[in-house]
Amino acid sequence: MNKDKEEFREEQISIPNANVKKEYQFCFDSSLFPKIQINDIKNLDLVGLQFDAEKACISGVPTNASQIDIEIEFFHKEDENFEIDIKKIPFIVNADPKDLWMNKPSPTDSRFPKEENVTFSSSFLDKKIVVASKRGRSHAHEGTFRDDDFVVKSLPDDWNVVAVADGAGSAKFARAGSKFVTENIAESFNNETFLQNLSSEIISYFDGNNSEDAKIKSKAFVINSLYKNVKQLNEALNQFADSEEINLKDLHTTLIFVLVKKFDFGYVVLSFGVGDCPINVIDENEESVKLLNFLDVGEFSGGTRFITMSDIFSRPDMADRFGINCFKDFSKLFLMTDGIYDPKFVVESKLENLESWKNFLKDLDGKNEDQIKVDFAEDQNIENQLSDWMDFWSKGNHDDRTLAVIY
């Protein structure tokens, strides 16, 4: 009799962890110790659970997260005196990770303050645009700033520009970097003469009657013009860092932008990207998707490049960062930071996969855990809808989120 009790006392029993606010049930396998009867389990009430001696089951909905020692009271079935012994084992109720994240306001009195959440909507050529940018959970937890930023701007000669930037988490003033680059690049195109020249070269480039040579010349003009503006941005960043007396690397940020104009022959989208934020276009029938830029994902995970790094200009892939595309029409054009792309697409390859995009569109249409729909048809409230949708929960993904949709 003592041997049975001793063995039960020494037996390593692992009870699955419970999760707070979630239904829990665990039944002891009494065939493992047929001669032992569990009489009661003490301390379960500390976490709001009950023990049913008849079924030898622990059940209930735990009320609070905790790690406690539960005391299993047991006796030998052949013992006439029902002499009770106690076995102590740990019992764990996990917290809901959502409850552990704090939401501390960012300190408005520090340098380069930035609003935590921003939304925007307006017309865009003969289409519309909606953008939302949100501070990530990790920044909220520590009371630090959103590092993402964006700018939407109408330009002369019927051009429009959208720029999105993701400040590097490791850079001290990334929030200022992303703000500076989006504003600076958008403003750098605000020049009527330049844009008129750009328009005529674009017409020449897409004119089927033109010779190859003429086309190449036009293409060179377009790319060189964009290159010049990007190059001056890099120089302006240097000056900005100097004038603020901070290191350039403290401003590390990615940048993507599109310059868009509607011509008789379609929408021309000029694009540029450095870093790991994608620009995608979905055709008018939602049957194909095109990724307009390549992503700097680096050799090892987490490696990316920034517009603040002057070495990007001397690398052979610099020209590939620019894109000239024409679409007769399109359903949607997306610009996003990795705060959206990481949880929703996970890997680079999925950004060119139509199935992934169909799922993403369904997700925006309300097929998600919280059933939040971004209504692109009845769009009076679309800014707030997008902002709410962007609160989606994704384990391990707590980065700032920015999503711009031209629709």
Partner: protein, 347 residues
């Protein structure tokens, strides 16, 4: 979701019996408890525990902090560092997801290796395999529990070799607090900056001290003698642990070595054999060097250190006839006069 795999490679050789193993057991539970309240760790950290003595096995396979339940840490005979490293490398091959075009991989795994003794086997091959194929793809932190280890050998595996002074239960508490803090900062940093690498937390140098690997370190003498015995009442196995001490001998200025009893501990026989080397126990120690004879931890008999002619150690209640649980012989037991050699486990 990208995981941060953390491996604990624990030396579970017999010298760990008693306070060290209890503290490690409790320490692991504390780490988990703490990580469960940290949102970064809860969503990112995955933990596996591997034990090695004469043999090595995975005690807890890689799992997230949410599902983790503190395991029972076993004890075995021998200190086969090579078997431990092999098990670790196989686990890394099996568990850790590499980044591909189709899939986002895990973060670089972090390994905490805790050891308190000198390997009883040749570790050369395993060390080379580690340095060639794994060292660059993981972060290994080696912690010498006490100063009875081969620091030169450990220094060949990692630049991070630390000495933990396991003086009392408070130092263990502080030590595990330091491990927890290091895991938390690391998981927070990779989440916020995407930078891999371990961020060891600042430690109290009295508790955790970084070893200067540019220096040569002398090989220590054995600090412990551990003997395995069997209860003659209920056949259960136990271990007797003796700690080295020095005393002035009759010759002035010359000290004699002796081993003073620390305690007698019950062990789980099944897991003991699972982690013990197959080789026959051959180290001998003279009973003259052993001081103290504790009572049997299993049945409470007065003396846990009695030896049969077969060489087995078992417990007896006092002088008189008793049956050896190892060979079944019944013999008369009295106090020995001269010294006799007792089989010693591999440590």
């Amino acid at each position: 979701m990208r995981r941060l795999p953390i491996y604990f490679l624990l030396d579970v050789s017999e010298s760990m019996i008693g306070e060290p193993i209890e503290q490690v057991q409790e320490g692991i539970a504390t780490i988990i408890k703490e990580l469960k309240t940290d949102p970064y760790a809860l969503e990112t950290v995955w933990i596996s525990i591997i034990g090695f003595a004469g043999k090595s096995k995975t005690i807890t396979p890689l799992q997230d902090v949410i599902t983790f339940y503190p395991p029972k840490i076993p004890i075995g005979s021998g200190t086969s560092l090579s078997k431990g490293l092999e098990e670790l490398m196989n686990a890394i091959d099996r568990d850790v997801v590499k980044t591909t075009y189709e899939r986002k991989g895990d973060w670089k795994p972090i390994v905490f290796l805790f050891t308190d003794g000198i390997p009883t086997d040749d570790s050369e091959k395993a060390i080379n395999r580690w340095n060639n194929d794994y060292r660059g793809k993981s972060n290994l932190v080696i912690i010498s529990i006490g100063d009875n280890t081969n620091l030169n050998l450990l220094g060949r595996l990692s630049d991070q070799v630390l000495l933990f002074n396991n003086t009392d239960s408070n130092s263990y508490k502080e030590f595990f607090k330091w491990v927890t803090a290091s895991i938390k900062t690391t998981s927070e940093n990779i989440n916020n900056t995407n930078k891999e690498g371990i961020d060891l937390s600042k430690s109290n140098p009295d508790i955790v001290e970084k070893i200067d690997l540019s220096k040569n370190h002398s090989l220590p003498d054995n600090n412990f003698v551990v003997l395995s015995g069997k209860c003659s009442t209920n056949d259960k196995m136990y271990l007797l642990k003796f700690k080295k001490a020095l005393q002035e001998s009759n010759v002035p200025g010359f000290q004699t070595r002796f081993y003073k009893v620390e305690g007698a501990y019950r062990i789980d026989e099944n897991s003991y054999w699972e982690y013990s080397a197959d080789s026959a126990i051959s180290n001998k120690i003279s009973s003259e060097e052993l001081y103290g004879n504790p009572s049997c931890p299993s049945c409470g008999n007065n003396f846990a250190l009695a030896t049969c002619i077969c060489g087995g150690i078992h417990c007896i209640n006092g002088d008189g006839n008793a049956k050896c649980p190892w060979c079944g012989n019944t013999g008369f037991y009295g106090m020995a006069e001269g010294g006799f050699d007792i089989n010693r486990t591999l440590g």
